[in-house]
Subunit: 327 residues, 2 copies
């Protein structure tokens, strides 16, 4: 087990300093400098896909941090990293991560702590986003909530009784792989009917294509390379197929979220990510179906909303706030 | 919010004393005296269905406790009550509880504390059972596990990162109402396809009856008043319909449990209750289907077992251990 080398972390002292949030995405890695009010005051970007060597990648992240620190002439209290396939306990990004060209395990916490001499915490993207919502977003002062990220896949972070749930191997909160229909769509995980096959950006595109085919592509839309963003724009222009797509997506998502409520009895469910940008065409039917599917004992005790945090900042703020998990 | 009147609970002092566990069931209410080694040394029983007045019912429970205390000439450190429809926060059994003839809210903690002058805690049956497994059973030293009770319904208690999950209204862990098939069997909750419609004692009977009808009741079994216990006995005698019933039950239960794992990433799942008494005809296919349905990231990190606690004692021990929740 990885043990943070900074055993006597003085949180009051940390809070007076700037912190770094690193958001490792499949395309870009964004390094943000965050002030004590929770604002991203400066950022640097690396092209993730140009790296095939883990050590070189982490050293370049360290260089970016030193650059930001020197330029703004500030003290850094801690570094938080949000990444896919992250192991909070070991402080490593696991080997063979789907969206990275670096295939070996990356001991990112160990390297950054050695280079920067500040405590460093690693966690998965959705957990980082949940922490971000808890510290800076609409889950401030909320002890029981679920953060759901809709993107290429569907991720989630569960806060219950004031704590983020980690679980036995720090792999709790895989809402995207809740089985919605045991004989449903094939999932990349090898099983069938997972929530993310219906409600991720990919799932939304598949639903749209199926509807277009069924209607003999009545509007003559080029569906081949269509994205969930395109479908969102069509929906907001009033296109019936696109509106129907989000209606269906909302129905599936509502069943999944109503199931999630039976586990952790949250006060709030907060959704973020690309597909939420469509707004009303998803949110309005989602609230209706959610109410229909909710077990009666939870009636009027749980709300659904889209994150209010700025999209570009949410991941960085979440990562920057990860240090709180170690205390 | 109900506040325990014993603010400065000295746990070391409490541990030297005997404790009382009260298990309120639809038929009987069992009051057990538990020693510090976690053994039920004596018990008293009340016929729950004879009561229509909450205050009289609780006063009779108090009298039973005083009787046990006097007979054994011991000090009582605390009282724990496991009940259906229990509100841990308010210390009350909610009004209109399905299996009780008492229809008003029962402020059981307040009355017992006043009568006995010892701290009293109330929680739902499955949470009590989870606490019991954590203190006395096979989840000792286990920080992440799920306790599932199979009975008239299906209940559950989730332990994550060393804590029992309560949730916003203390109503977390309703695994029985996970939607397995959105268009499936009708549930008493008003929705369709809940896990308990397939895997509770009632669900098992329904599956058996459906199979018997389909086979034109080839074995000429009187299915009208058949119980899950009868079906279990038939299965252990090798009856093909009964064996098929548990095979189907195992398949549904496995999907539900694999879904539960994606939420809290447990190390163990422990099952208890009547239908588990059948043993191998349920456990063997359950383990096979569970493996088939488990998301690959949890492979080899979670086990399924039946509770090893004595059936009659489990509920009392769990209730007796509830005081740990207040600390």
């Amino acid at each position: 087990m990885y043990v943070c080398i900074f055993k006597d972390l003085n949180m009051l002292e940390q809070m007076d300093k700037y912190v770094i949030g690193v958001d490792i995405g499949g395309t870009n890695t964004v390094i943000g400098l965050v002030n004590k009010e929770g604002k991203v005051v400066s950022r640097d970007t690396l092209a993730t896909q140009t790296y095939t060597d883990g050590a070189i990648f982490v050293m370049d992240i360290a260089k970016s941090i030193i650059k930001l620190k020197s330029f703004h002439d500030v003290e850094i209290g801690s570094v938080g990293v949000g990444a896919p396939n992250a192991n909070f306990v070991s402080g490593c990004i696991e080997s063979n991560t789907a969206n990275l060209r670096i295939k070996e395990e990356i001991p990112i916490c160990k390297i950054l702590e050695k280079e920067l001499n500040v405590p460093t915490v690693l966690s998965n993207d959705a957990d980082a986003a949940a922490i971000g919502e808890h510290i800076y977003g609409s889950a401030k002062n909320c002890s029981n909530f679920i953060l759901v990220t809709l993107g290429t896949g569907v991720g989630s972070g569960f806060f219950a009784d004031g704590h983020l749930i980690h679980g036995h191997n720090c792999m709790a909160g895989e809402l995207g792989h809740l089985t919605l229909y045991p004989e449903g769509r094939e999932c990349s995980c090898g099983r069938c009917g997972c929530l993310e096959t219906y409600t991720s950006a990919r799932g939304i595109c598949q639903t749209f294509k199926e509807l277009a085919k069924k209607s003999n592509n009545i509007d003559n839309i080029n569906t081949e390379n269509i994205t969930s963003k395109d479908i969102g724009e069509l929906a907001n222009e009033g296109n019936p197929l696109a509106l129907k797509t989000f209606e269906i997506t909302a129905k599936y998502l509502a069943i999944g979220l109503a199931n999630a409520v039976t586990f952790s009895n949250p006060e709030k469910i907060i959704l973020m990510g690309g597909p939420t940008k469509v707004g009303a065409p998803l949110l309005i039917p989602l609230k209706r179906y959610f109410k229909d599917n909710l077990l009666f004992i939870y009636e009027n005790s749980v709300t659904i909303e889209f994150s209010q945090l700025d999209d570009n900042d949410a991941a960085i703020l979440g990562a920057a706030a990860l240090i709180n998990l170690k205390n």
